[in-house]
Structure formats: C-alpha cells, structure tokens
C-alpha cells in the first residue's frame, strides 16, 4: 500500500478513474463508458458524477480543460499522474486481495447442477 491511498476506493470512483485512464472524456462520455463497463444497469446520475469529479479535481487526481465543439464549450476531464498512481495502487491492492481469497473457492467448488 503506498501513502497516496490509505483506504479502499468506492466502486464508482474506481470505475471513473479507470475509464479516464483510457483517455480524456467529457461528462456524458464518462457516463457512457462507465455504463458500458458496469453491469448494474442503474445509470450514474449527473449530480453524483459531478460531485465525484469535483472531489477528484480537488484532490489533484484529475484536471479539466475546456474545449469547443459543435454544441458550445464543454469541459474535458483527464487523469493526472497522481490519479494514475491512485488507480494503479487500488488495482494492485484488489489483485493481491483476490490472490489471497481465491484458494477459498478452490477448496469449496460450486456444486454441479
């Protein structure tokens, strides 16, 4: 565990960081990318999304730029180096956690139907 991330990330934060790691996106782009990845079917609502983005911006995990498109100016969110480090540390943490717990399933295989 490194110092930048003392506690586990919420699933929503993890998803947002992971879609931004593929490249900068605007708000709706994040929603679409998150919904493609998550299977919950529940939409990520705009208010919560932007609250998450505000917090990440404040913590220096992401930064934003404005760019003009056909519909006026809109904000593009991009992962910073710090954000990437947080993402990487969280994925490693989850990885090692899974390595620890997976033998439990091997010892108790799913019963055949």
């Amino acid at each position: 565990m490194d110092e930048t991330q003392p506690t586990a990330l919420a699933p929503r934060d993890l998803l947002v960081l992971s879609v931004l790691s593929m490249g900068p996106l605007h708000g709706y782009g994040i929603v679409r990318a998150v919904e493609e990845r998550s299977k919950s079917g529940l939409p990520l609502d705009p208010a919560n999304l932007h609250r998450v983005l505000r917090r990440m911006r404040r913590d220096g995990w992401i930064e934003e730029t404005e760019e003009a498109d056909g519909e006026g100016r809109r904000r593009i969110h991009a992962l910073t180096a710090a954000g990437l480090a947080v993402l990487r540390a969280e994925v490693e943490r989850l990885d090692s956690l899974l390595r620890e717990v997976r033998p439990a399933l091997k010892a108790n295989p799913r019963p055949a139907r």
């Binding site: 708000g27 709706y28 929603v31 679409r32 529940l42 939409p43 609502d45 705009p46 208010a47 919560n48 999304l49 932007h50 609250r51 983005l53 505000r54 911006r57 404040r58 404005e66 056909g70 519909e71 006026g72 100016r73 809109r74 904000r75």
Partner: protein, 947 residues
C-alpha cells in the same frame, strides 16, 4: 454557458425534462451550481436524449434521488465551511488562515470563481444597503394594508404560538432541567437489581454508607413520600401528600424560606421535637395566609408537630410537594430493609457524572462483597435528578422529531395562506415592482424586499404569539395532567415559562414563515419581469392567481363548514351521558375513598385488609348514629364511577344481537363488588328475587344480583332468577370461572359507560375486608358539602391515620365528560383558524382581482356603469368560491353524518345553518373593503395608473 433560458446552445428548445432538471439544480448551493450546474445539465440532457421510455423513467428517478442526496451533502459542507469562516474572522491574518484561503482559491472553480465572488459581494452589499429601508417599507406596508396585516398576522401568531408552546413542552418533557442554579448537577442515585431490572427502594443501608463514603456527590439526601391527614385547629382534617426529606434538600435548592426556617440536620435526630415546613399554597389554603403561622401546632397523622417555616411559592422539591417533615432514618437498618426512599445529591465541584458512577461502582462492589446474600445483584446508578422522576428519554428522539414535523407542517400550511395574501398585495404593487426593476433592482433585490416585509409582519406576529404562549402552555399542561393517568401533579420543573431556546425556536419559525410568506410570492410575482419590462406596460401578461389557490380556498371553506359536525357528535355524546338516569339522586350522597397505611402490627396483607375492614365497620357504626346520615355502604366502585367491563356467558339461551362494539365472545357487563346493604343505602328496590344476606358473603357462596339492563340485554327479558352466569377466560389462561347464581334484580344504578344508556351490571356481595381501597358512600339529609368536615372528624376519631378522600357524588364524573370538554375546545380552535384562513384566502383573491381590474373598472365607471353592476362583477369570483366551498362542505357533512350513523336533529341543523350564514357573512365582509376601494377608483386615475 450563458444560453438564454429555455434553449440549448444551438438555440434548439430544451425538453421539459431538461428544464425541470435545470430548475431542480436550485437545491444545490450557489457555488456548486456556478461551478458545475451547466455541465450537469448538459450531461443529463445527453443521457436523456439517448434513452427510451423505460430508460428515461429510471434516469429521472435516479437523477432526482441523486440530486437530493448530493444537495444534502453539499449544504452540510457549505454550512460547515461558513462556520469555519466565521470562526476564522477572529484571527484574520494568521498564516494558517491565509494558507487556507489560498488553497480554497486554488481548489475552487477556477474559471467561474471570480465572477461568482463578485456576484456574492455585490448581493451582500445590496442586502446591507437596502435592509433598513426594507424594514421601514415593511412597517409602512403593515399600516397601509391593515386587513392583510390583521388576518395574516393573526394566522402567523397562531402558528408561532402553537409551535413555541409545543416546543417548550416537548423540551421540558424530554430534556428536563431543574430551574435552579446548577440544576443539571443535581443527581439521583438508584439501586438497580441487575437480574430483574427493578429499582430497589429499600436502600437505607446503602444510603447511610454512601453518605459517609462518597466524595464525588455532596449534600446527599433522601426522601420518602406518603399521604397523611393534616389536622389544624379550627380548619378540620384533610389528607395531604407529605414528604419526609433530608435537610440537605433545602441547601441543594438554595431557596430561603418565606417565613421561619427550613428543616435542619438537627431535626433528624431521634429525640428531636416534631417539626413541619409548609409550602406557600398550604399556607394560603389551610392556614388562610396567617402571618403568625410559625410556631402553630398541627397534627400530622398521629403526630403533633410544630410549623417552623413557610417556603416561597413555586418551591415544590422533590416533585410537587408542599409539606415537608424531617426524614429520620435508622443507621442500623439492615440491607434491603426499611422504608422506600429515593436518594439525591449534587455532583461535587469538579466531579462529573462519570466520576460519580465510577465511585459508586466501587462502593457497590464493596457492598456486594460484604453482603453477598442481598447485594450480589444490586448496582448503584447515578443519573440526572429530573430524569429519575419521569423518564421519557426512550421516546426523546421520536417525540422531538414527530412534534417538530407536525409543527413545521402547521406553520407551512398557515404561512402558505399568508403567502397568498402577500402575493395578492405584491401583485397589486406590480407597477412599483416593474419600475424598480427598470431602475436596476435585481430580482433577488426585489424578493429580498418582500421577504423583509414578511419578516416585519412575522416579527409582530411572533411577539403576539409568544405573549399568548403562557396561556397555551397552562392549557397544555392541564391536558397533560389529565392525559397521563399515573401523574397526579406534574413535577415542579414543568412550568408555563419560556426558555431562551424556545424564543430562538420561535424566531426561527418566524424566519421560516417569512420565507414562505415572502419569498415564494416574491419569486412568483417577479417571474418574467424582464419580458414585462420590455412590453413596458404593467399588467400585460402579469402574474395570475392559479387554480391551485382557488382549490385551496374552496377546500378550506368546505372544511370550515363541516368542522362543527364532529363537535356536534361529541356534544351529542355528552348530552346522552348527562341524560342517562343514574337511578338515584347524586345530590344527596357523599363518596369517600378510604385509605390506610400498613402498620408494623400488620403481619400480612390479609391482616392489613382485616384491620381495614374493622376500621370501616367502626366508621359505618359511628356514621349510622349521626342524625344527618340516611345510610352508609361501600363497594369497589360506586354509581357514576368507571366500572370494570368483563365478558360473561349465561347457562342457556342469551339474547341476540350482542353488543356490536364488543370484540370478546360472550356479553359485556360491568362488574362490581358491594356491601350487603348496598341497595338499601341507595334506596334501590329489589325488583324481583331477593337482596343480599350476610350469609351470601361466606366462602363458596356464589350468588349475584343483576340489574334491569342485564335482564333486557343479556337474557332478552326472560326470568333471570335461578339462571347462572360465569366469567369467560379473559386471557389470563385460567379458563372460565365457576358459575354464579342470579338471586335478584335491581334497577340500573349509574353503571353506564360512555354515551350508551345500556349498562348490564353484575353485583357480587363482599365483606369490607375483601376489597381495598374501599369506596364509601354516605346518604346525607340536607347539604352534603356541609357534612364533609364532620365525616373527616368521625374518620379521625375512628383512627387518626385513616384518610378519607371525600367529595360530593355530583362531582364524580365519567372521565369521558372531561375528555369531551377538551375535544370540543380543540375543535372550536380549529374552526376559528380554518375560518380565519378561508377569510384570508377570499380577501386575497378579492384584492388581487381588483388590483388587476383597476383599469377595467375605471373605464366602466367612465362609461357610466352602475355601482351595482360593478359590485356584481367584483363579487362573482369570491361568491363562486364561497358557493363551491359550502356545497363541498355540505357533501362532507352528509358523509360525516353517514359515518356517525345518526341524523342531525332539527335544532342542530338550524345551528349549522346559522353558522354557515354567519361564515358567508364574514366572507362577504372580507370582500367589502376591497370593493369599496374599487368603487372609489376615479376613471382618470385608473387610466393614468396604466399610462
């Protein structure tokens, strides 16, 4: 970012959902809205556009919930930040605050921060510059629109009065505080049995040890409550609540005596002369306020004692007492022996409740080790004194929350109505508002001014409301004393005075009310102001009175019309209660509850009952010798009291139908145990069969007498003599009781319960030692009240410790009658408020309609229209509302009458008719003021005002 409202960036119209979302974003703090509002809207719009019907439903719900949750979180953060900023102002230029401000600047929204900041600064300076003027204008408005001020002010005053009273009462009940200096450091110590969770009150052994050992609790004392006869030379005998108490109680409370002295520690010594300290009301009531009362001798129970002091009015420690005698505890009392006492004290300087508990735990452990037989499971507990008497803390959060919700809802309802009035007033000042807007006033500025005006009205209303709170509180405390059956008198810390917290609460209610009554109409009246400004004619496309308000007014009138129906129904019940023939003349009877104390000579409960029986027998013998007495008897209940209701069955063929309100199997009857001479004393003839004999009270004799109602309702008027009845299993698991034989029938004797005159009753014969406490009935020739002192005198002669709680039978009432009185008063208040609000609504619509039609009326007058024509046209709308309301009310009345299954008698219909006419008249009166104003409109003025 700054797209015109109603279009997106490309000028395409936004969908209603996106516009709704945009509007909902207002729940967020402004800084958040400024930073992310546009982006959130854009994201929502894109998501909305890409979804089908089902997806949109899900998105709508998720967005709404998400927005509300985020709003709560953001507001909490924003308020926290504001609090930190306020605290920082004290040390403005410390390096840390500079750093924090710098980091806030950096982290805030970089693009929009500066603009939002400028906006905030500007609106703040507006508020500061404009505020005094706003309040002055508000005061002027109060005088200019007296109708609005009076009706709106009274309604708000009512809401604030009810809110503040309830808040005060809830605070006093759920967060009790002793009204003495350092009252929250006064504590009680209880001995709790950890196994049974019972409180062990025989704690003299422990108390004596705590008094010697405890260092964290000072002024340790104890008290023991009892009832005793107070006999005063020349003033007769009367039972009174007495408290034996340690002298430290008076030091704890700190009140000096009004006369003489308080109890002293020396009074507690075993051989010390008997002394008594009396309270202010006992001094006034029993001693006639005698200034030379100190030194007088009284008899308390069987002891002669000297009055040594009088405490000032309001002193009632420990609970609600007004007679104190020294507590004499034996230091040699064994564990769990001696009188039932309660222990109190004050936390020593520097000690906390936790310190005291820690020390008590240690003391408890020592005692448990020393006396394992008795103390193994006893745990001393220290707790705030006020909470040791009535502990409502289990309901604290629920009670506080629910009462607050109700109060705020009431305020919202009432202030919405006041808001309607203010809206009408604001609408009638539309030209002024448009001009102000043209001169550069922002919408916020105008709304703020309307808010300030509402605040002025609310402030005046708050003063009136708080002034009425004392009366309301006294009334509420009365209800409480009635409503809590275990409470005879409320403890002295529940009082009808207002705490500073309540005044702050009332102030908050006022601000909330002003926000509803000022800001909401302000926002409505200023909507589309820019468009109207461009159209440059006030009135064109201006605000309109919506259909919702019409519906609200109609509904209020309907409720006002129908409100008396429950009152009638309740009053009808009360009448029915009064009409019931009790079968005797209550004016010639005295009733008295007979109480005695256990004495050391009573070896068992049976021995005590036997002694009580002997005492009664002697009392009956001596009373019988009095020439004024026509008869003496006893029972566990007497006529006109509330009887226990029990289910029974009869041995064969009971009558049908049974009582529909009774859910048990079998028949419902009133059960009573009475003396053998009961029916003779009440001059009730035995209608058939025989009366009771002494032999009937022998063990194993199971005979009963029933009343006339029993024969009719249970037996269908068949011959009852020789039939048998038995009590059904009432859930105690013992199965049906044995059979009893009916030997006689008597007339109905005041056994009715509630408004029903049908009251089957069963009487069992008993001897006086079989029931306790005994209710004694004495038939008196002549004035029953005049005989009361003689009754107590005879009682005292039989046994000085015998207490007789005597009163005329006429004052014995079913609790139902008192409850009815409260309900009727409550409904009357509700009626008055509903009427007031309907009036406010009608007045508001009238003023509003007239303000909108000034020009039209002016032109009509100019064209020679008659005053009558104008009046008709003006009255049409409010009269339609009134008519609709009354019609809806009539439907409601019919529905309610269907519910109570009884037709209104002709006189009640007449009363209802008069009431409706009165209400309509008052509504018409409310229209007259604005109508007179309309008729005075000069054509030139009307045209000029719109030019």
């Amino acid at each position: 970012m700054n797209t015109p409202t109603g279009t997106d960036g490309r000028g395409k119209a936004k969908s209603p959902a996106v516009r709704a979302y945009r509007a909902l974003l207002r729940v967020l703090p402004r800084a958040v809205r400024a930073a992310d509002g546009d982006e959130m809207e854009r994201t929502f719009a894109a998501m909305w556009a890409q979804r089908g019907v089902r997806g949109r439903v899900v998105l709508g719900a998720a967005s709404l919930i998400g927005l509300m949750m985020v709003a709560v979180a953001e507001w909490i953060e924003a308020l926290g930040a504001a609090g930190r900023m306020l605290r920082r102002r004290g040390n403005r230029s410390t390096p840390s605050s500079r750093r924090e401000r710098a980091s806030e600047r950096k982290n805030g929204s970089r693009q929009r921060g500066s603009r939002a900041g400028i906006h905030a600064v500007r609106s703040r300076s507006f508020a500061v510059r404009g505020s005094w003027l706003d309040f002055k204008v508000g005061l002027r408005m109060l005088a200019k629109y007296p109708g609005v001020s009076l009706i709106g002010g009274l309604a708000m005053a009512f809401a604030i009065c009810v809110g503040a009273s309830a808040f005060e009462l809830v605070t006093q009940l759920f967060h009790p505080r002793l009204p003495v200096p350092d009252g929250d450091r006064i504590v009680a110590i209880r001995l709790v049995d950890a196994q049974s969770s019972d409180v062990e009150q025989q704690a003299t052994y422990d108390f004596v040890r705590w008094r010697d050992q405890l260092t964290t609790v000072d002024e340790l004392g104890a008290f023991d409550e009892s009832s005793q006869n107070l006999a005063i030379e020349g003033s007769g005998v009367e039972p009174i609540d007495v408290v034996e108490i340690s002298a430290s109680a008076f030091r704890l409370m700190g009140d000096p005596p009004a006369l003489g002295r308080t109890l002293l520690a020396s009074d507690e010594a075993p051989g010390a002369p008997a002394v008594v300290v009396i309270g202010h009301d006992v001094w006034q009531r029993r001693f006639g306020g005698d200034p030379a009362v100190v030194g007088r001798s009284v008899r308390l129970g069987s002891t002669q004692a000297t009055v040594v002091g009088v405490m000032p009015a309001g002193f009632a420690f420990p609970i609600a007492h007004s007679l104190w005698v020294p507590l004499r505890l034996s230091a040699h009392e064994g564990p769990r022996e001696g009188p039932a006492i309660r222990v109190f004290g004050r936390l020593a300087d520097g000690a906390s409740l936790v310190d005291a508990q820690t020390e008590l735990d240690a003391a408890g452990a020592r005692l448990a080790a020393a006396e394992p037989d008795t103390h193994a499971h006893l745990r001393p507990r220290v707790l705030p004194y006020a909470r040791s008497v009535y502990d409502f803390s289990a309901w604290r959060s629920a009670g506080t929350l629910s009462s607050n919700v109700v109060l705020v809802l009431l305020l919202v309802l009432i202030c919405s109505n006041v808001g309607l009035l203010m809206f009408a007033r604001a609408a009638s000042r539309e030209s002024e508002i448009v001009v102000r807007s043209a001169l550069g006033a922002s919408r916020t500025r105008i709304v703020l001014q309307l808010f300030a005006e509402a605040l002025v009205l609310g402030g005046v209303a708050a003063v009136v409301g708080l002034a009425a709170t004392g009366t309301t509180l006294r009334w509420a405390i009365g209800i409480l004393e009635f409503g809590l059956p275990t409470v005879e008198a409320l403890p002295f810390w529940i009082r009808d005075t207002l705490s500073p917290a309540t005044i702050v609460y009332a102030a908050m209610l006022t601000v909330l009310g002003a926000a509803i009554a000022g800001v909401v109409p302000g926002l409505k009246v200023t909507r589309g102001l820019q468009a109207r400004l461009r159209a440059s004619s006030a009135g064109a496309g201006g605000p309109r009175m919506g259909g919702v308000w019409t519906a609200v007014i109609v509904a209020q009138i309907a409720v006002t019309v129908a409100l008396p129906i429950p009152a009638f129904s309740i009053r009808g019940d009360a009448e029915a209660l009064r009409r019931i023939d009790p079968g005797l003349d209550p004016a010639s009877y005295l009733v008295a509850r007979l109480e005695m104390d256990y004495a050391r000579a009573d070896s068992s409960v049976a021995a005590f009952h036997a002694r009580a029986g002997r005492t009664y027998a002697e009392l009956e013998r001596r009373l019988g010798a009095e020439p004024a007495v026509g008869g003496v008897t006893f029972g566990d209940r007497l006529p006109r009291m509330s009887y226990a209701q029990r289910p029974i069955e009869v041995d064969s063929g009971g009558a049908e139908p049974r009582d529909p309100g009774w859910t048990w199997p079998g028949y419902r009857v009133a059960r009573s145990s009475v003396g053998v001479g009961f029916f003779d004393a009440f001059a009730a003839p035995v209608l058939s069969g025989r009366g009771f004999h002494m032999a009937d009270t022998a063990p194993g004799q199971r005979v009963v007498i029933v009343n006339q109602s029993f024969v009719e309702r249970v037996l269908g008027a068949r011959n009852p003599i020789g039939r048998r009845l038995r009590y059904l299993n009432d859930g105690s698991g013992t199965g049906p009781a044995p059979w009893h034989e009916i030997v006689g029938v008597v007339p109905d004797l005041g056994t009715a319960r509630g408004p029903s005159p049908i009251a089957p009753a069963v009487y069992h014969p008993v001897t006086p030692n079989a029931i306790y406490p005994l209710q004694v009935a004495v038939r008196v020739h002549g004035d029953v009240r005049a005989f009361m002192p003689r009754l107590r005198e005879i009682g005292t002669a039989v046994d000085p410790a015998l207490r007789l709680y005597a009163r005329p039978m006429e004052t014995v009432r079913d609790e139902g009658v008192r409850a009815i009185g409260f309900a009727v008063r409550l409904i009357l208040v509700a009626c008055a408020v509903a009427l007031l609000l309907s009036l406010a609504g009608i007045y508001a619509t009238m003023s509003f309609a007239l303000a909108r039609r000034t020009r039209e009326i002016g032109i009509r007058v100019a064209l020679g229209a008659s005053a009558r024509g104008i009046v008709i046209s003006v009255f049409r709308r409010p009269l339609t509302q009134l008519g609709l309301g009354i019609a809806a009310g009539a439907v409601l009345v019919l529905w309610l009458m269907g519910g109570t299954q009884r037709l209104l008698p002709i006189e009640e219909l007449a009363v209802l008719g008069v009431y409706v006419v009165f209400m309509a008249g008052v509504c018409v009166l409310a229209c007259i003021v604005p109508t007179r104003r309309a008729l005075r409109v000069e054509p030139t003025e009307a045209l000029r005002s719109d030019a």
